[in-house]
Each structure stands twice: as structure tokens, then as C-alpha cells.
Amino acid sequence: MADFSLTTRNEGNIVIIETSGYLNNVGGEQIAEVCYKEIDDGKTLFLLNLEQSKVVNSIGVSILIEIIEKLQDVEGRLGYYNLAPIVEKTFNIMGLTKYSSVYQSEEEALEGMS
């Protein structure tokens, strides 16, 4: 699996972040940086497409928790789709899915976030 990278695009008022690589400290920080900048610009709805990120560690999860907390301050939301089973299980166990939503596809995610 290659080093972490991401791309962003907007679907209406939703920011879609597509990642590739290990969602660890490095990956998490990159996602946070993008999210915080977008939050400062007034965006509140974020979707992560994790299809190309099959492995996540607890540092990556803790950064996602921070992002969720920041979004709660601005009444925003975070959602994910295309999660590998291992990643979904990790999110469930670490409690992420209580404060953010998991969707099966982008279509379902866009509908769920709207």
C-alpha cells in the first residue's frame, strides 16, 4: 500500500475527501488539515471515501474523533463510505459510528448527509 494521499471535491454543500493509503498519524493529520480549512470556510458536511484506505490505526481514529468534535462545535457532520470490513469494525469498536455515519456507497452517503 502506497503512502497516504487524498483528493477533495464538492458535491453541493458536501465536501468529499477520497483517501488512498494508511489512515494513521500522517493520513489523519492530512484529513484534519483539509477539514479544518474547509470548516473555516464555512463547510460543515464532510464525507470520507475510504475505498483505497484498507488499514487504519488508533491514531488515525483519534484524529477522526477530533474532527467530529470540531464539527459538533459548528453543528456539522462526518460520514464515510466504501469502508473495508476491518476498518468498519475498528470504527464501530472505537465508538466513531456513534457520532458519525457509515454508508455503503457515495449515492447513499450523499442522500444520508443531505
Binding site: 494513521n24 484498507k54 490505526n57 469498536i93
Partner: protein, 671 residues
């Protein structure tokens, strides 16, 4: 204590009221800290201040809230300060005159912010933090009421911080428990994978990825040992593909792990060659071992935290070892499955490629497998055979059913050759072997039938056996290479026999007697021909043409031809005694033998073709036979030359034969 004025009292009361609201409304320690600091500074009319949180584990003071924008991230409190704070746990400290225990980073801060009062925030005996207050507005002196108010606020702040700390502790414990749960779930998932994932590469990747994630490693690799090579094979890797150098199992770290049967973690303090080779300081390596035999290793690098990389520890090694143990079992299972599948495919390909039909019957009598040769022999679809009971499948073949029953009853292998197989057709002939089907413990688990369709062989035998002995037929069928039925030149010996005066004799006999006589004669003669492995080429009337050396050659072809002729003559003597007893006229036979080159092969038309020999050698043999008197065996020079040391001969006068310019030499066999 001086009495505050009404306005001041109202002000203090409103501050305390606001304090209550802050404590009720705030959801986080940070917002409580900011609110209380603002309230405190406003209440006592101070411009600067800060609230520190004390972390007992790290022995550091960090800012919860500060009026200054440029505050250091954290400060290590001087030991004398801690002692002094404990003394003043229920009060406050005026900085003036107490500066000797304020040193280091804290001194720098208090000097810069001109801190005047430090109020320790103690809950029971635990220091939770500090409330630091700078100079009062217009450098007024802090009154006793100010100090009292500070103490009231700090008590509430302490309670609030304690509660938040409890909540944080609970959250931290919850996270720890979640991480433990994740570890257990990962182990569980791998144990599930043992029975579900049977692809070694996929399994190795799955285990590695889970291990990297659960141990917060930056990257990892599974290195497997290879037969006959010290170089470890990186069968699966995560974030390490390009920079991973060749690693030998002879490296000290791997030798060490093998000897101690225990994994290792390496830190900054270790100076192992693998650290140099990989240019990494923090490594953790655990063996992947089955039954104490190391199959390979899992190696992870760099344990990540929010503040950077830290060394792995014993708990990490325990977890990685548990993961590797699970992985080893899973990978061994996958390996065994692969081997069994390969072996099964190999067996199936053998069964598929052999000409013998193999049919297996389960303990209930149902056919559970058949190879492709079996399907071909039975001339049925596989679906019609498998799942059917053998009693129905072979209902037309009582012999086969009886053999299966016998094998079951006697629990042994039973074979039968050359039996009809009506399951297929009236003409089908098989060799069959019925054997018990045993499990690895040697217990009978059904029956195995091996069926060989010999219908074609039977046809060949029945065709050929009219001309050659069974032994020759078997030899021909056993070794196709020897058989050349196409035209070829070859050296043969040819024996002709003829009943002397049979035509005139037959004229005096009834047709039935002629046939009986000839059948008796031929039956006796052909037995002798086959005894000496002669090929009965033709029966023309009362004449026999026998070839030695075609279609199979032997060194003693000529010798056998002469022996056949001698035994024939002797048998005719015996036969004549029987004929005399039966009041039947005796028969007398003349024989001629020649050796030489002939053309042999299948000669004739497409509809009528016979294997025979032609040429001058044949003709001379026939001429010699014609020249032989009753009871005489005449041979040519070539026969004499080959066998003169074996038989007694008498040279006769050369004779002229048709088609030959010169007279030919001839010899009579003395027997």
C-alpha cells in the same frame, strides 16, 4: 476581616452566581477553565493569570487556560514547589518572599506575567493544577476578601476539574478497553480466518494489515523461510515494498529469536545489525512458528503516537506474538489445504489419465465417484452413475454383483478376468478387481472397483488365436513395438505339411467322416504348432502352412519349425494306432521346411485381409513338402545349415523344382 461594602458584596455574589452558571453550562474542561479564569480575574480585578493542569504521570504542568496568548505549552514543576504546594493545599501562596522554590520554566512564566498569587488546586491529596493570578488593577493590594473569594472559586474549580478528570479517566479507560476489544476482535477474526481463508498469500496480507493497524505501526512485513535458501521471502508487506533490502535468516536477530523461541523488540538503545540494515530504530519481530518450527517472521516498524514515534514494548510483543501464533496456525492450515488440493488434483489427474475405470462405492452401496475412463467404459453420463446404488447399476451382471458381495464379506481384493459385462453390451468383456476401500485408520469405508475393458483385446485374441499360440498373442498385445503388421522383409522359416493321398482317401469316405478326420488331424497338429509358437498362416484343404519368425522373430525360429515337424510325425503315428483301432485307414503326412527372406504383412483387399508371408522362400517350402514321401520331413540347405548340430540329417539327391534353374539341395530329417 474588613467588611465589604454593599456594592462590593453584590459584585462578589453576582460573580459566584456566574461561577455556578459556568459550572452548569460548560461541557468541557477547557471551557470551564476559560470561563472561571475570566470570572476570577474580573472578580479580583486582575489583568493576568492562568490555570494549569497537573499531569501526575508525566509530571508536567500544562495550560488549561491563560490570559496571555504566548504561553509555553507545558512546564515541569520544580520539586520544592510541589512540596510547598502540598503544605498550602487548602490555602494560597503569595509569591512575594516565597520565590526560592519557584524556579525553571515556572519562574520564567511568573516573572513575565508578574504573578502574585498561586492557589494550588488539590482534591484530597492529589494535585490537579494551579490557579495563578497576576497583579491587581492599578497595583492595589489584594484584600483578604479577594483571597477568600479566590479560595472559594478555586475550590469550585477543583471540584469541576476533578469531575472532568474523572470523565477523562473514564473516557481514557473506555478507549483502552475499546483498543483491547479491538485486539481481541482481531485475534478472533484471525481465528475465524483459520477455517475460512485458505489462500496463504491472502491470509498473510490480512494478518499483516490487521497487525500493523492494531499495533499502530508505520509499516510491516511478513518474511517467510524458503527451502534451500537463507534469504527470507517477503511474502506480504505493508508500506515497505520498495525500501526493504534482502534479509537473511542468518542475521543475529533471527538466530536469537529461533534459539529463544521468542520475539524481540528493538529500541534506540539496541545496536542490532538489522536496525542498521533497515535504517530503523524501533522494530518488533515475532516468529511465525508451527510445532516449534519457525516458518517465518512478522516484523513491524515504528509505533506511532500523536507526538511522533515511540519504541514498542513488552505488551506490544505479547500481542504480536499472539497474532503470529494465530497466523501460523491459519497459514499452516492454508498450506495443508493447498497440499491436499494439489495431491487430490494429482490423484484425479492420474485417475483421469489411466485407461482403467475406477469406481468408488460408499458404505451404503452408492457410487460416489468414477473417473473418466470408468465413464467411457460404462458408456453413460456421470450423473446417471454417481449417486446410484451399485445393485441397480450392475443389475444385469450377476458376476459383478457377486464379486462385490464376496469382497465385502471376505474383506479382501478379488479379481476376475475376461468376464462379460452386460451393463454395457453383450459383447463387452472386462477384467475386474474389487477391493475394500479403507480409511487412514484401515477401516473399511466402502468398495473400489477397477474395471478394464478388454473387448478389443478379446477380439484381437479371438482373431489371432486361430493363427498363433496364446503366448504369441499375449506377447503381441503386451508389446506393440514388436508388432509390425505392415509390409516388411524378414527372415522366416516355413513349414508345410500335407496328407499324402488324402484326395483319393476322401473319395472312399462319407463327407462327415472326411470332416471328422480332418478336424481330428488339424486339432492335433495345430496344438503342436502352437506348442512351438508357430504362426498358422493357412489351411488349404489338408495342407498346413506354418510360419516361424513372423509376426514375431526369435533366434530359434528354424529349430522350432523342425521340432514341430518331428513331433507332428510322431503324433501321427499315435493317431494312426487309434485310427486302426477304430478300423479307420491310417493317414500319412509329408513335410517340407525352408528358411529365407519373405515379405510379411497384411495382404489382401480392404474387405478381406490376412496376415501372411510371400516370396520364393515360401514357394520352395511348398515344393519340398510336395517332394516329401509319407512320414518324411525334407528341409532346404538353409535349414540344414542352421540346425545341423541339433538334428540328424541325411543328404538326399538335389532335385529340380519349378521356378528354379538349378537343382536344389535337400536333406531328410532323421527322427
Amino acid at each position: 476581616m474588613e467588611q465589604p461594602g454593599t456594592e462590593q458584596l453584590e459584585y462578589y455574589l453576582s460573580s459566584l452566581d456566574e461561577l455556578g452558571e459556568i459550572l452548569i453550562d460548560a461541557q468541557k474542561a477547557q471551557s470551564v477553565g476559560a470561563g472561571i479564569l475570566r470570572l476570577t480575574l474580573g472578580t479580583v480585578m486582575a489583568s493576568k493569570g492562568a490555570i494549569f493542569l497537573y499531569n501526575k504521570k508525566t509530571d508536567r504542568l500544562s495550560f488549561l487556560s491563560s490570559s496571555s496568548k504566548e504561553s509555553p505549552s507545558s512546564i515541569t514543576p520544580p520539586k520544592p514547589l510541589i512540596r510547598e504546594l502540598i503544605k498550602h493545599r487548602h490555602g494560597h501562596i503569595l509569591i512575594e518572599g516565597q520565590k526560592r522554590w519557584i524556579t525553571g520554566g515556572l519562574k520564567k512564566y511568573t516573572n513575565k506575567e508578574k504573578i502574585k498569587i498561586i492557589t494550588p488546586l488539590f482534591h484530597k491529596n492529589s494535585l490537579l493544577g494551579l490557579l495563578c493570578i497576576g497583579p491587581k488593577f492599578m497595583n492595589e493590594i489584594y484584600s483578604k476578601i479577594d483571597i477568600k473569594i479566590l479560595e472559594i472559586i478555586s475550590n469550585h474549580l477543583t471540584k469541576a476539574l476533578y469531575n472532568y478528570q474523572l470523565i477523562d479517566d473514564v473516557e481514557e479507560k473506555k478507549t483502552e478497553l475499546n483498543l483491547k476489544l479491538l485486539e481481541l476482535e482481531t485475534l478472533f477474526d484471525i481465528s475465524v480466518a483459520i477455517s475460512s481463508v485458505l489462500d496463504i498469500d491472502q491470509l498473510a496480507e490480512d494478518v499483516l494489515w490487521r497487525s500493523v493497524g492494531i499495533l499502530n505501526a508505520s509499516r510491516g512485513v511478513i518474511l517467510l523461510k524458503k527451502e534451500g535458501s537463507p534469504i527470507l521471502d517477503p511474502s506480504s508487506n505493508f508500506n515497505w515494498d520498495e525500501s526493504l533490502p534482502l534479509l537473511s535468516s542468518k542475521l543475529g536477530i533471527f538466530q536469537d529469536i529461533n534459539e529463544n523461541k521468542k520475539g524481540k523488540y528493538l529500541t534506540d538503545e539496541d545496536k542490532s545489525s538489522i536496525q542498521k540494515k533497515l535504517n530503523e530504530k524501533n522494530l518488533i519481530i515475532a516468529p511465525i512458528a508451527v510445532k516449534e518450527k519457525t516458518q517465518g517472521y512478522m516484523m513491524l516498524c515504528n509505533k506511532e503516537t500523536r507526538s511522533g514515534v515511540q519504541p514498542f514494548n513488552g505488551l506490544d510483543l505479547d500481542l504480536l506474538t499472539a497474532l503470529c501464533n494465530q497466523a501460523a496456525v491459519a497459514m499452516e492450515n492454508a498450506k495443508l489445504f493447498k497440499e491436499i488440493t494439489k495431491e487430490k488434483q494429482f490423484n484425479e489427474s492420474i485417475l483421469g489419465s489411466i485407461a482403467t475405470g475406477v469406481i468408488t462405492i460408499d458404505p451404503l452401496g452408492e457410487i460416489d465417484s468414477i473417473n473418466s475412463a470408468g465413464i467411457k467404459i460404462l458408456k453413460k453420463e456421470k450423473e446417471e452413475i454417481v449417486g446410484n446404488h451399485y445393485m441397480y447399476l450392475f443389475e444385469k451382471d450377476e458376476d459383478v454383483l457377486e464379486l462385490i458381495t464376496m469382497s465385502e464379506v471376505e474383506d479382501k481384493v478379488i479379481s476376475e478376468l475376461n468376464i462379460p459385462f452386460k451393463t454395457v453390451s453383450e459383447e463387452t468383456v472386462i477384467n475386474i478387481s474389487v477391493a475394500p476401500r479403507l480409511d487412514p485408520e484401515g477401516q473399511r469405508q466402502g468398495t473400489v472397483l477397477a474395471i478394464e475393458d478388454i473387448s478389443d483385446i478379446s477380439k484381437v485374441k479371438s482373431t489371432f488365436k486361430r493363427y498363433v499360440s496364446k503366448q504369441v498373442v499375449d506377447e503381441l498385445l503386451d508389446n506393440d513395438a514388436k508388432l509390425n503388421l505392415g509390409g516388411e522383409e524378414r527372415e522366416v522359416s516355413i513349414l508345410f505339411t500335407d496328407i499324402r493321398g488324402f484326395t483319393s482317401m476322401a473319395e472312399k469316405m462319407t463327407p462327415e467322416t472326411v470332416v471328422t478326420t480332418l478336424n481330428e488331424y488339424f486339432s492335433e497338429m495345430i496344438d503342436i504348432v502352437f506348442k512351438y509358437n508357430g504362426t498358422l498362416d493357412k489351411i488349404i484343404g489338408d495342407e498346413l502352412m506354418i510360419v516361424y519368425g513372423a509376426p514375431l522373430s526369435a533366434e530359434n525360429d528354424t529349430e522350432r519349425a523342425v521340432e514341430t515337424a518331428i513331433e507332428m510325425q510322431k503324433r501321427i503315428k499315435d493317431l494312426n494306432k487309434q485310427r486302426t483301432n477304430r478300423k479307420e485307414p491310417p493317414i500319412h503326412v509329408g513335410a517340407g521346411i525352408n528358411t529365407g527372406t519373405v515379405i510379411s504383412g497384411n495382404i489382401g483387399s480392404r474387405d478381406m485381409m490376412d496376415y501372411t508371408v510371400i516370396g520364393d522362400t515360401v514357394n520352395l517350402g511348398a515344393r519340398l513338402c510336395s517332394s516329401a514321401k509319407p512320414g518324411e520331413i525334407l528341409v532346404s540347405r538353409s535349414v540344414h545349415k542352421t540346425t545341423k548340430l541339433l538334428f540328424n540329417y541325411k543328404k538326399l539327391e538335389p532335385i529340380r523344382v519349378k521356378g528354379k534353374e538349378k537343382k536344389v539341395d535337400l536333406f531328410r530329417v532323421l527322427y
